[in-house]
């Protein structure tokens, strides 16, 4: 089966500062790909290039066989390639339900359908009781789920998660992980940037390691973790999850 996403020789420079250089990899449909690397490795820049926040300086991105390099983030999202953000970005003055309905509506649904779908999604992610609450009043864990709920409203075929577990205490993480796995089971492909090593190891089918904007390793989790170059890269930079278990 052909890869659902192909990234070829992606490079990104900002005013002479090279954030990414010659990064290439493929993503198989239905797989869970973890992306790790020390701080400043270029993970978020990679996400931004792939998801259309800005175009790469060099290289191409293919999605479902199409060259989508340079597509806007909105266009990609409507096409099923959706990313979530590390910092929560709710539409603060709107209710939780309205937040999700906006995403569903952007996909093309009517207002009525969008609200109905939003309600279903809220129930699925466990935010049902907050549906009419103003979204800015949600606690952090709730906001994280709201990000996921909004992404789900777009029926993502590829879901890119930027540190979705950050800011959650360990007890809050499992439900989110379960939710992600259920999304995967429905056929979506997941890419996630994460510092919580336990999650990366447990969930990923393959892992991509970035360091200083370049690919350091790419393969199964066990292989990557045993790779001496990877270990060395991390020795100079603390792994932020102290309670890896």
């Amino acid at each position: 089966m052909s890869p659902i996403v192909t990234v070829e020789h992606i490079g990104k420079s900002f005013k002479g500062l090279r954030a990414l250089h010659d990064v290439s990899f493929t993503v198989e449909p239905g797989e869970v790909l973890g992306i790790i690397g020390p701080n400043g490795a270029g993970k978020t820049t990679l996400f931004n290039c792939m998801a259309g926040m800005f175009p790469p300086t060099t290289g191409t991105v293919h999605y479902e066989g199409q060259d989508v390099t340079g597509w806007s983030d909105a266009r990609l999202a409507r096409a099923g390639l959706v990313r979530t953000f590390q910092l929560m970005r709710p539409f603060g003055s709107m209710t939780v339900l309205e937040n999700v309905a906006v995403a569903a509506a952007a996909r093309g649904e009517s207002e009525k359908e969008a609200e109905e779908e939003g309600w279903e999604i809220l129930q699925r992610v466990g935010l049902a009781q907050y549906a009419t609450r103003t979204s800015k009043d949600l606690p952090t864990a709730g906001l994280k789920r709201l990000e996921l709920a909004r992404a789900l409203a777009l029926h993502p075929r590829v879901l890119m998660l930027d540190e979705v577990l950050a800011g959650l205490v360990p007890t809050e993480r499992q439900p989110v992980i379960d939710l992600l796995l259920s999304i995967r089971d429905e056929g979506a492909t997941l890419l996630f940037v994460e510092h919580v090593m336990a999650a990366v190891m447990a969930l990923s089918d393959r892992v991509l390691v970035l360091n200083q904007g370049e690919t350091l390793a790419f393969g199964k989790p066990e292989e990557v973790v045993a790779n001496p170059a990877v270990i060395e890269a991390y020795l100079g930079d603390e792994v932020t999850d102290a309670d890896a278990h």
């Binding site: 603060g92 339900l97 952007a106 207002e111 309600w119 129930q123 009781q129 549906a131 606690p139």
Partner: protein
Amino acid sequence: MSDTLVQTVPSPLRKRRFLDNNVIALIVLVALAVPLPLLMDQGQEAVAVRVLIFAMLGMSWNIMSGFGGMFSFGHAAYFGIGGYSSSIFLVNFGISPWIGMIVGMGVAALYGVIVGWLCFRYKLKGTYFALATFAFAEMLRIIVQSADIVNSSVGYNVPLIQGSDWWLMQFPAGSPNYFWLGLGLMAACLLVTIVFMRSKAGRFTVAIREDETAASSLGVPVLRFKLTAIALSGSIGAVAGVFYTQFYLFIDPELAFGAYRSIEAILIPVVGGIGTIWGPIVGAVLLAPLNDITAAILRNPPPFLDFLEGRTGLDVMLYAILIILVILFLPKGVFGTIKEKVTKR
């Protein structure tokens, strides 16, 4: 956050119907307002008409700046384009102001889209965007002021006709028809606003205001909807300008495009309740009569205010004090604060 229990939360979905609370309130408001001119004298009716003009002007600003978050400091441009369009057509060609209004609405929307597009293309946001809108409005005023083809600083006098003519949008001074015409226009604009804000486009507009990056990443075509909000804003502003010109029978560059008009467009919805449907109406009702009240005080001041006799400026002073008080103590505006208190219960 427990989700191990089965969710037995009642569905928050409500049947969507055209006659929601806002529309019903609008109908009630219009019904109550219709008999008003029969109870008022000519002077009071003039105030009532000014309330309607203020309401439309404020509503127009509120759409792009309140709901849309794109602060406009040059809103007079839309008002003036409306007033000038209808005047040019009427005075030069004898064409009905209704046609002039349609044209004015179109030109105003186009102006807004062009200015908006330029600003967004060059990534101007917030205060820079506001300053750009101010600069363009001022340039428009300066150019009109010296262009003989639009009567330069002389402006336009709407030719006086005898009797009432709905097609020419003109009635004898003090005629209740002016109020009813304005009420109809205002109600139409308000209805459009209500429908727009609860539509997809309106929801997108608010989402873009709240977080443009998030909206874009969720598939919302941001540029398109920002420009839509601006175009709608501009058209309603033009309607206000047309009605103003037909009521006062005169327009000139200062009245049409002056900075003061732009400031008025801001004061009204901010005092009333920024980013709410009814804020501009409340603001109009509060601010419009101030002119006349202060003018009356200044004509015949009570003994302890004797020194004020014959002077001007008190009305705007009160506007200014109001806006300062609102910003400090009621940042959501009068209506906005009430609404917040009520929904918190």
